[in-house]
Amino acid sequence: MIPMSYYLILSSILFSIALAGIFINRKNIIILLMSLELMFLSINFNFIIFGNFLSDLTGQIFVFFVLTVVAAESAIGLAIIVVLFRNKKSINVDDIGGLKG
């Protein structure tokens, strides 16, 4: 039986890699979305780990809903990127300052 802390350490390493990816790839917005996917993956890992080690299936139910929401989110995000590229001819994050935020 593998100890629970091994899985938890793996998921935390995955989360910090994804967080570092957001800081490193500040130019390419598609890789930013991919880092977000990695983050959601590590969160799902935590749900499944605790669900498994506490013998409770609710964790897996939550992973199911998280997967649903993430699928919708990435579809809308990619649609926004397509529209943005059509208007600006670039996906560089620095060029997207239209709202002057």
Binding site: M1, I9, S16, K27, L33, E37, L38, Q60, A72, S74
Partner: protein
Amino acid sequence: MSTELLIFIFFSLLLVFSALKVIIVNNSVKAAIFLVLSFFCSAVLWLLMNAEFLSIILILVYVGAVMVLFLFVVMMLDINLSNIKEKFVNYLPLGLFIFLVIALLLILFFDNQFSDVDRNIVTEINILNDNNTMNLGYLLFTEYIIAFEIAGIILLLGIISSITLTQQKNNDNKYQAPHDQINVTKSDRLKIIKDEEFRK
């Protein structure tokens, strides 16, 4: 060293490697391929934790649908990689710093925090039998039926919004023009013809 531990170590190392490649690689297509590899590795690790249904779903839905969507978008966009590449090194120390701080924090927190957790601390009230898919389906269609329907509505929302965002104006199609419809006046629509004029 048991077989389970060997499988865990192999696939977790592969998972960390492919996740690192996702954020380091400059080419977006390669990054998407490595993301597929990391999803595959985590599906194997989920199998080790008795989540059979979700690991199959991760392969079928994620690798089969969402990642293909990513690849389509990456290939549709004609990206100039040269100016993306040059400032990559500038943010590397910051990224490394963030990675080390967060990873150390989380590892120190998780290391011995849950080592004494009792596997049967929650009574196995949800477990019907050994079939993971059947148990999940039972829970999903009884206790979580409203959440399940809301998930369906969220997917519908995703479809509608992504179609309306990417739809291009085409002059052959017929559209409503609400602005013109609101600003119409009585004289545009109605023409009063006097009775004498009509007889002429």
